[in-house]
């Protein structure tokens, strides 16, 4: 604190010739935090890859079943049996063997058949972004030439579907539910929080009591109870939207309380009084002076809360209370993977876990960096 005394006077004014707005300063500070930038880049690429172009990134279509039931990941080779090096990686053909005694399936490589893996290969047809027809895939083996070949970098599930493809497609729902849910939470939470803090009185009382009640409810059990109440016969999409609404419904209370607290303190700031003394309307004070003051806080809270949403979806679906089978989300994938039997027989299905972890880690890295850059508490 004593350092501040030494450094503040008039220092910034002369140094920067170009005026910097608050957000420009934030960006400048944020850029310097490498971990946070890394988190941001990871998230951008995840969202771009999983939400917009999973069809292109995956070698197969989501429901491309095959005979290779519960096959382990196929190994990529660069060196063939004769010790020759290939720049282009290849896979061997796979042969299924059934041990009649133990009733266990095993797969062995047939080194006589070699299938090169190519980039930008034509395969299953799909519609990019829902309307651009295409059959281009980032990688894969040529299906037309070798229909019996398959590449499963993360193994296959009980229907012989490529697990990596399923993870890519599952990311779309899981990532979006966090984002949409959080946007709804912000809308609910901010509106009610601002009203509660600015108007006070009865409105404040009602909103306060409601948030207290939501707080008293243990949140995961509340999710579970609410999710369990979704009728089983609803269409998967309806279930998805219902779940998003539930997620944001349970979470808005906390945000509303924080926004209310901020508004209460901002309301007494002298610049708000100055606007008031100039005759500004309630709407102007709320939207021009109070809300922008809470934005940095809200952004930080929201960024750090999204992983919680994603996890809630994952946990609920994993428990069988959220999204259900025809839909593919990371939680649904976990349902298959997370049994003692599955860990014994198909451990590669746990590949879903690292994807979830990296997403959550990236959000935390980003959020932590944003907190420093936005400096919501105004300590610097």
């Amino acid at each position: 604190m004593t350092v501040v005394e030494q450094t503040t006077p008039a220092a910034p004014a002369k140094q920067k010739q170009v005026s910097q707005s608050y957000w420009a300063l934030v960006w400048w500070k944020f850029k310097r935090n490498r971990i946070a930038v890394l988190g941001g880049i990871l998230l951008l690429s995840f969202y771009f890859g999983f939400v917009f172009i999973p069809e292109f990134l995956s070698p197969y279509e989501l429901n491309h079943t095959s005979d290779f039931v519960e096959a382990p990941p196929t190994k990529l080779h660069f060196i063939d049996t004769e010790g020759k090096f290939h720049l282009q990686p290849f896979v061997y053909g796979m042969e299924r063997k059934l041990d009649f005694k133990t009733r266990a399936r095993t797969y062995v490589e047939d080194t006589t058949r070699m299938y090169p893996i190519s980039l930008f290969i034509h395969g299953d047809e799909y519609k990019l972004l829902g309307f651009i027809p295409s059959d281009l895939h980032l990688y894969g083996v040529d299906q037309k030439a070798n229909p019996e070949a398959i590449v499963l970098i993360m193994g296959a599930d009980a229907l012989g579907r490529d697990w990596f493809t399923r993870i890519l497609y599952g990311g779309r729902l899981s990532l979006m539910i966090g984002l949409i849910g959080q946007v709804m939470t912000i809308i609910f939470g901010m509106t009610l929080g601002v009203m509660s803090g600015y108007y006070g009185g009865m409105i404040d009382q009602v909103i306060q009591r409601t948030t207290e009640f939501l707080n008293a409810f243990p949140d995961i059990p509340l999710f579970m109870a609410l999710a369990a109440a979704i009728p089983t016969f609803w269409s998967p999409i309806a279930v998805y939207f219902m779940l998003t609404i539930i997620l944001s419904f349970v979470r808005w209370g906390g945000l509303a309380r924080q926004v209310r607290g901020l508004i209460l303190s901002l309301r007494e700031r002298e610049y708000v009084l100055a606007a008031k003394s100039a005759g500004a309307s309630d709407a102007r004070i709320m939207f021009r002076h109070l809300l922008p003051g809470t934005m940095s806080h809200v952004i930080v809270i929201a960024t750090l809360a999204i992983p919680g949403m994603i996890l809630s979806e994952t946990a609920l679906s994993w428990l069988g209370l959220g999204l259900r089978a025809p839909l593919t989300s990371w939680g649904v994938l976990l349902q298959d993977a997370a049994t003692v039997r599955a860990i014994h027989t198909t451990p590669w299905e746990l590949w879903t876990v690292p994807f979830i972890l990296v997403t959550i880690l990236a959000y935390n890295m980003l959020g932590d960096g944003l907190r420093d850059a936005l400096d919501p508490y105004g300590t610097r």
């Binding site: 004014a13 910097q20 002298e270 009084l273 100055a274 100039a278 005759g279």
Partner: protein, 353 residues
């Protein structure tokens, strides 16, 4: 109406008319406790305050922390809705009844908004009083925007003019508050207060947070502007020497009440209230030769939520008698234009500076 007013002003040059009269102003903040937020008492921040401001003059409002001087200033323009009292104001835009004064209390919002053009405020904290997300042009232009002027070259010209008037450069227009020093920020605040061409500016401790050298610059600026724009000031501060310097008349407040009001020179040289005397004596003088018998007031400033009986100052007053414990003294005009709230004002011989 306008020419009529002008002739009046010239005639009454000897003694300008009252621009503002505050009568019985009270602001109580409720103290709430418990689950049901039951009101268990009040902080009587402003408790029956009376004073007036003449056209073109500066009234200093001085007192120690918690005496209600800032609350009084803010209650006048209803930033805090007063609990009771009247604030009469001579508006240029709205005609008043009888003596030309209009009561701001209970004025409907649209009319109050008009009044806000004529009374503006300058705040204490050079960091807190400017919205960090707005440029100087937005900040200074905001009052004009609120009152219906759209941003354009014309408005911008006005803003540039204002900035130059307070000693800032036109190229500061697009900058943000954090790029300025404390003194410059205070100038931005002053430019904002002048943007609607007000008659009365309430300055709420405008120099308390500034360094000595910057404080002098700001005080000089305020004085110049008063001349140029024919402004009246209510100058709220705790520094007695600053208040003396800038004020024509001074009101001393103690625990929500006015103890004494008089012409600045008279108040400082011949105070009538023991609190004024003690306060003046307590101020450290920037003169090592000055050795006086300091009157050291004992104890702390009374608690406005639980003030003592009778005269609030009696527990710390060295002249206190029985009557002071029992009766609350009225503010009365002992000499022309010299008001005091003390039972013993006539008999006491008090020393000024």
């Amino acid at each position: 109406m306008a020419p009529d007013m002008q002739t009046q002003t010239t005639e009454a040059k000897a003694k300008p008319r009252n621009l503002l009269e505050v009568k019985g102003l009270k602001k109580y903040f409720p103290i709430q406790k418990g689950l049901l937020r039951k009101t268990v008492g009040y902080v009587k921040a402003v408790d029956d305050v009376n004073f007036f401001v003449r056209e073109g003059e500066t009234l200093g409002l001085v007192g120690e922390s918690g005496c209600g001087k800032s609350t009084a200033g803010r209650s006048i323009i209803r930033l805090y809705e007063p609990t009771a009292g009247d604030v009469l104001f001579r508006s240029r835009h709205l005609g008043g009844e009888g003596n030309g004064l209009i009561n701001l209390m209970g004025l409907p919002p649209d009319k109050m908004k008009t009044i806000r053009k004529e009374i503006s405020m300058v705040f204490q904290d050079p960091i807190n009083s400017l919205n960090p997300r707005m440029t100087v042009s937005d900040i200074v232009g905001e009052p004009m925007f609120i009152h219906g002027q759209r941003m354009g070259p014309e408005t911008e010209a006005v803003i540039v003019n204002l900035l130059e008037r307070v000693g800032l450069r036109p190229d500061h227009l697009r900058r943000y508050p954090h790029e300025f020093s404390g003194g410059q920020r205070q100038r931005i605040g002053i430019a904002r207060a002048l943007s609607l061409n007000p008659q009365l500016v309430i300055c709420d401790e405008p120099v308390s947070a500034l360094d000595v050298s910057i404080q002098a610059q700001t005080l000089n600026l305020l004085q110049d502007l008063q001349q140029d724009f024919n402004l009246s000031y209510i100058f709220v501060a705790h520094d007695l020497s600053v208040v003396q310097h800038i004020s024509d008349r001074v009101a001393v407040m103690y625990v929500g009440k006015v103890a004494e009001i008089a012409d600045a020179e008279e108040l400082y040289s011949a105070p009538l209230h023991p609190y004024t005397e003690a306060l003046l004596s307590a101020v450290p003088k920037a003169d090592p030769l000055y050795k006086s018998d300091r009157i050291v007031m004992q104890g702390d400033v009374a608690d406005p939520s639980n003030p003592p009986s009778g005269c609030y100052f009696h527990p710390r007053c060295r002249y206190a008698q029985e009557v002071c414990k029992l009766k609350n003294p009225e503010l009365r005009e002992l000499k022309p234009d010299h008001f005091v709230a003390c039972h013993r004002a006539e008999e006491l011989k008090l020393e000024g500076i």
